[in-house]
Symmetry: C2
């Protein structure tokens, strides 16, 4: 395992980078650039937060007398635009970028505030949402993650490339997009899924323990991100209200179709005593699931390629240290690469079920190899 060669050179070539805001993202940017040999100075409105970032090795507080080439604004979303404006004015030769997860509103506010749009290039590194605070900061937080770089029509192309180089220096994969396209994409791939997960999870508040105990892998998957921070998400959703509203209204239209279809089936059942021949209503319910099939099929597979259908082996493993080690050692000994995996624990039993996804061509080979080693392949 090694980092992308040339990372150190790229960080050095950025010149002096000023990081404003030393929370999780700002401190991680600073740690990553420092580790790669870059020159980083720090600023934060809180002296305590600034001292913590320095103690974590993120860099020194900005002495104020160095020429700054690039400013990274990593402030909370609701003050990002104001800080960008301040930094553009204070550093008249620097490129200014930010890391907020919604982009069009900030661009609009920077324009309305009279900021120099040739030097402002928005950014969104897609990492770190699950944890927060500078103590969770890591120089390699962005490794292998997408980093959306949002130049505007007014942006100087050389400065857009500078922000792209920043993302590369931190090991991220730059993705170029307009602010509007970014926000509309986030509404679909991030913000609407968050709302849906929260709405489904909220239904669980009012059911009894016996019902919740029947929760399976499907419910766990759908509601995993429902554990997110409400205050942060209220800010994100509010900042992207337009695109999220458009998507949620479309979703509500589809939901109404399901509700109307089920209501028609229920009404017919009440009158026809169980006959249930509301064929049109059934078709409309089925069509929503079919449309979901099509949408799900568009999500890219690993490494950004087209989705691959893997063959899945389910293997029973005792819930004890070393079990997974033996299993994966045996898989490795069979020279089979694991494409995806999931661990599920059986209710009431001290065993786990491991779902191992492999290329279909090697499935049978692996099954025989594991059975020869005494593993119980369930399916």
């Amino acid at each position: 395992v090694s980092l992308d060669p040339g990372v150190a050179g790229t960080a050095t070539a950025l010149g002096t980078v000023r990081v404003v805001g030393t929370g999780l993202l700002g401190t991680s940017v600073a740690l990553g650039l420092t580790a790669a040999g870059g020159r980083v100075v720090l600023a934060d409105s809180s002296p305590t937060a600034l001292a913590l970032a320095r103690d974590l090795g993120a860099g020194q507080p900005d002495p104020g007398d160095l020429p700054v080439a690039l400013v990274v604004v990593a402030a909370p979303p609701d003050v990002t635009a104001a800080v960008v404006l301040t930094e553009l004015a204070a550093h008249p030769h620097a490129t200014v970028t930010d890391v907020a997860s919604v982009k069009a509103g900030i661009l609009l506010q920077v324009a309305e505030g009279g900021g120099d749009l040739t030097r402002y290039v928005g950014g969104h590194p897609m990492a770190g949402r699950e944890r927060s605070g500078p103590v969770n900061a890591r120089g390699d937080l962005f490794l292998g993650r997408p980093w959306v770089v949002c130049g505007s029509p007014a942006s100087d192309p050389a400065r857009v490339d500078g922000v792209r180089q920043l993302s590369l220096a931190l090991g991220a994969t730059p993705v170029m997009a307009t602010a509007q396209a970014h926000d509309e994409a986030m509404a679909v791939v991030s913000h609407v899924p968050q709302v849906a997960a929260s709405l489904v999870a909220a239904r669980l508040r009012v059911v009894d323990d016996e019902a919740v105990a029947l929760a399976g892998g499907g419910l766990r998957d759908v509601t995993r991100i429902a554990a997110s921070d409400p205050v942060l998400w209220a800010q994100i959703l509010a900042a992207n209200a337009g695109p999220v509203l458009a998507q949620l209204r479309a979703l509500r239209h589809d939901l109404d179709g399901v509700i109307d279809g089920l209501a028609a089936i229920e009404a017919e059942r009440d009158t026809a005593n169980g006959a249930g021949t509301a064929a049109g209503a059934r078709a409309s319910v089925a069509s929503v699931v079919a449309e979901g099939n099509l949408g799900r099929g568009r999500i890219p597979g690993k490494h950004g390629g087209t989705p691959t259908r893997y063959a899945v082996l389910t293997v029973l493993v005792p819930d004890a240290p070393g079990s997974l080690g033996r299993l994966f050692a045996d898989i490795g000994a069979a020279s089979v690469n694991v494409e995806e995996l999931a661990l599920e624990h059986a209710p009431g039993r001290a065993v786990g079920l491991v779902e191992v996804s492999v290329l279909p061509s090697v499935r049978d080979t692996l099954e025989h190899a594991l059975q020869a080693q005494g593993w119980h392949v369930v399916s």
Copy 2:
């Protein structure tokens, strides 16, 4: 890894079991009972399906001259009640159960059809939905899975226990519930999550490839079950229309709250030029996410216990055969038990990120042990 001791004895004690319908579930029941030493006879309206199940080793076609103790109806959901009625009449001393995933409607139809309710006990083994067809049948399909046993007030308690013994003979964990409670629970833990996943995935049909390429782990989790069979799900949702409608209407009420809140924020932004002080609207958006936190927190952890907060280590692994084997061997050598795990592939890079969840008390031990072996622990 071994099966529950005493399984063979339990299967034998069931007496002759007649399995009606040799699809995935029926064939799996037959294979499991046969493997455990039970006596199984088969029936299916399709001679081809029946011959296939026999060839798979599930048992012999019912010769019709044996006294049957237990009938397992594994027909499609929309004909289950009719088949239960036929079997109750044809085998006047047998207990009759079924495996359909919605229960109250079938009980009602059996009662209305004049079936002997003392001998009918509904069942729902919660396994196998991802795959279908007899060729995917496995005798251990139900191992470690919940099997809901739905006696009615009219059921003979000894016959309810007989169906419970059937689930135990197949390695499942029996869960006792009324048909109504089962259906209401399924609406919340299975049917509404399916609809929500389909609705979110359906939004992906209309966005461009660049947007879909930004899909992260959250979207993948929320939409995983959106790949389900539309025709089967239309049957399931229609059969449980009442409880699903009640839950979907409550969900729509919450969704309307989010939409109204975002619309208020958007309207205020248009008038106040970016000021965005719609505090009440923001609070209502945040409250939906907060309610989702509460609901998500109710989902039981592994082994049915209370949810545990695990510490998560993210480890970078090369995407090559043997990598996971070495990683888990090293984890095992550190005598650390893996509680949950997930494999994520970085877009555009031939490396994977493995998220390993462990008890918080052993997190640092494991991190140091892995680093000593040369692993790159990302966070």
